[in-house]
């Protein structure tokens, strides 16, 4: 693998640390605006995920990086060079397609060698690199097969190998795992991440699966309606969503109705029933006291407590679902914005301790929830 890794380091050390930069990029299709002044910098060697609901412009942004169409405004740079007018075939990118797009009339080896042949690399060197990358994706011995003789997961790995063997400046992946079943998907995710780390290849990954985004990425850009709503590490995105869209799109969230009760340095206090919950202050800055706010809290951050605890608010267990590793408790609560709250309890005794019908209290730790003004 030395060869692939070496060429990576070569590009990484030259120039600045940003591999791909979108600068106020706008893209329109007829009357519809797919991207509105999107700015995003992807660091060299970084695994960047574009996450968002269908139609938010993820594929469009990826295709702009690939050069399949050109932006209506703004600038795209790869390794510092402006590429707005550079055709795809001169961009030195690697792309993996949702349906793999393996050339059906070529063998696995020919598919992988295609990019090397285009670059006029001698046959001997070509064969060596094909073998090397086949070993990397654990497909040694499959070189002679035709794509249709491979399983979905194997085709996927060939597609990855084909994109990687040319040591691209950036690897672009558009929902690569959406066609795989759940188990295969999980193992391919791990494999992709390992290979990406090993080669340190800058990667832009598109998905609408928030779990996939959180588990794979160095950073996630959450998009909606042609804009980036939040850019941050998976933990930042999950723990500190910057608005209600991100809070409800990424991960499960309970919504509680409360009122802004006061400010206290870096925190705001929100009153939920009789309880007081401390939340980050930023999203509530400038909001008047007693304004109604919505409190977003993750199922595993909602803790069951004694009903009489002073900082708790009450509810009644409506249903229990045993999930193996944890127990999901559905709780009816006056403060809930939907009819039930979901509490995820890791304790194995949850089934017996809080039977259906039990009155329970719930507490939320400092910074374990975020609040936004009611729109």
């Amino acid at each position: 693998m030395n060869n692939l890794a070496d060429s990576r380091n070569g590009t990484a050390s030259s120039g600045d640390d940003i591999a791909v930069r979108f600068d106020a990029v706008t893209k329109r299709f007829g009357d519809a605006t797919a991207l509105r002044e999107v700015s995003l910098s992807v660091r060299s060697g970084e695994f960047m995920t574009l996450l968002g609901p269908s139609g938010c412009g993820k594929t469009t942004l990826l295709n702009l990086a690939a050069g399949f169409f050109s932006p209506d405004g703004g600038e795209i740079r790869i390794d510092g060079a402006r590429v707005n007018d550079v055709p795809t075939y001169r961009r030195e990118i690697g792309m993996m397609f949702q349906n793999y797009a393996l050339f059906p009339h070529m063998s696995v080896a020919e598919n992988i060698a295609y990019g090397l042949k285009v670059r006029h690399i001698a046959k001997k060197e070509r064969d060596r690199r094909v073998e090397e990358v086949l070993a990397l994706v654990r497909l040694a011995g499959m070189a002679g097969r035709k794509p249709r003789q491979l399983s979905g997961g194997q085709q996927q790995r060939v597609a990855l190998a084909r994109a990687l063997v040319i040591s691209p400046k950036v690897l672009l992946l558009d929902e690569p795992f959406s066609a795989l079943d759940k188990n295969l998907r999980a193992s391919m995710q791990v494999e992709l991440r390992e290979i990406q780390r090993k080669l340190k290849v800058t990667t832009i990954f598109v998905t609408h699966d928030q779990g996939e985004a959180l588990s794979l990425s160095d950073r996630v850009a959450v998009m909606s309606d042609g804009r980036i709503r939040q850019l941050g590490t998976p933990e930042e995105i999950y723990r500190r969503p910057c608005d209600r869209f991100v809070a409800s799109f990424v991960g499960d969230a309970n919504v509680l109705r409360g009122r802004l009760d006061g400010f206290d340095g870096a925190h705001s206090t929100v009153a939920v029933g009789t309880a007081r919950v401390k939340v980050p202050e930023a999203p509530l800055r400038g909001v008047a006291l007693s304004t109604p706010v919505d409190l977003f809290v993750r199922p595993e951050q909602l803790k069951i407590a004694e009903i009489c605890a002073p900082s708790a608010f009450g509810g009644r267990v409506a249903a229990q679902v045993y999930q193996g590793g944890h127990v999901d408790l559905y709780i009816e609560c006056a403060q809930s914005a939907s009819d039930r709250l979901l509490v995820r309890s890791a304790g194995q005794d949850a089934m017996t301790r809080w039977p259906v019908g039990a009155e329970v209290g719930m507490i939320i730790g400092i910074d374990d929830a975020v609040a936004f003004p009611v729109p």
Partner: protein, 283 residues
């Protein structure tokens, strides 16, 4: 069929057509095995003489000419039709697409005779091409297009074009655009992408187009009749002469049978030659 017995009544028209076709074929086959009685429309006794007569150089040449003309026409139609089909499938411009479609499809509605007459106007000694060439002083004498294989093939290419373009366009439109994008992302420019990806993947369409064009041309009658003018003969012209000028129905029937057999042989050979391409059709 067995799983959906309620569909059976719907096969009735097909069955009727088949019965009619089989009966006609049987009649032709029966005629081809009867002796010719000069001066009579009734055939004589059973004989194989008609088929041995086919081997005479005069008739054998018509068979070879027919295959040669069909082959030339199919290949020329392919070369003219491929760019048209490609543009038709790939253009994003709706107006250009409509124009192309009209160019490709109108000949279908004109009928063979009308199209052939228009080619006589173009190719004749006083026709469009020769007038232009002579007025420009490029040639002194008109170039002989009429009554030549060249003239017949040119007109046949026009007649066959719609079929070819439709077959090619069907093949081309089934090629996933992602293959091309993948090739481009790997560094291949437009020409290389076309030669190494699009062209090979369009081969099933090419084979289908050439095969159909070949069979289509094999039955051509009006075009070789009018432009060939008796100097360029294809099988159907010979059948016409023997059947309706000499009233030698048995021999005309044997020509039909032999022509049909030849078509089947040629198409089978083409089909077998295209076997290796079957892989591509799944995609």
């Amino acid at each position: 069929m067995n799983a959906q017995p309620f569909l059976r009544p719907f096969t009735a028209p097909a069955v009727l057509c088949t019965v009619g076709l089989v009966a006609a074929m049987a009649a032709v086959l029966q005629f081809s095995l009867r002796a010719y009685v000069p001066g009579s429309l009734e055939p004589g006794g059973f004989t194989l003489a008609n088929f041995s007569d086919l081997l005479k150089p005069l008739y054998a040449k018509v068979f070879l000419d027919t295959v040669w003309i069909c082959f030339l026409t199919a290949i020329c139609t392919l070369f003219v039709g491929y760019p048209l089909a490609f543009a038709l499938v790939r253009t994003q411009n709706a107006i250009l697409k409509s124009i192309l479609l009209v160019i490709v499809v109108t000949p279908l509605f004109l009928g063979e005779v009308v199209r052939t007459y228009s080619w006589i106007i173009v190719l004749g000694n006083n026709g469009f091409i020769n007038s232009v060439l002579m007025n420009l002083g490029i040639v002194r004498q008109p170039i002989q297009f009429m009554f030549t294989t060249f003239g017949v093939v040119v007109a046949l290419v026009h007649v066959t074009m719609p079929v070819m373009v439709v077959m090619l366009a069907a093949g081309l439109s089934h090629i996933d655009r992602d293959y091309q994008k993948a090739a481009e992302s790997l560094g291949a420019g437009p020409v290389r992408t076309f030669l190494t990806i699009t062209l090979p993947l369009s081969m099933p369409g090419v084979v289908a187009g050439v095969t159909t064009a070949f069979a289509w041309t094999f039955s051509a009658f009006a075009t070789p009749q009018l432009i060939g003018g008796g100097k360029v003969n294809m099988i159907s012209n010979l059948v016409y002469q023997l059947g309706f000028a000499s009233f030698n129905f048995p021999f005309a029937a044997s020509l039909c049978v032999a022509g049909l057999a030849l078509t089947i042989v040629v198409l089978t050979v083409l089909r077998l030659a295209a076997r290796p391409l079957d892989d591509l059709k799944a995609h």
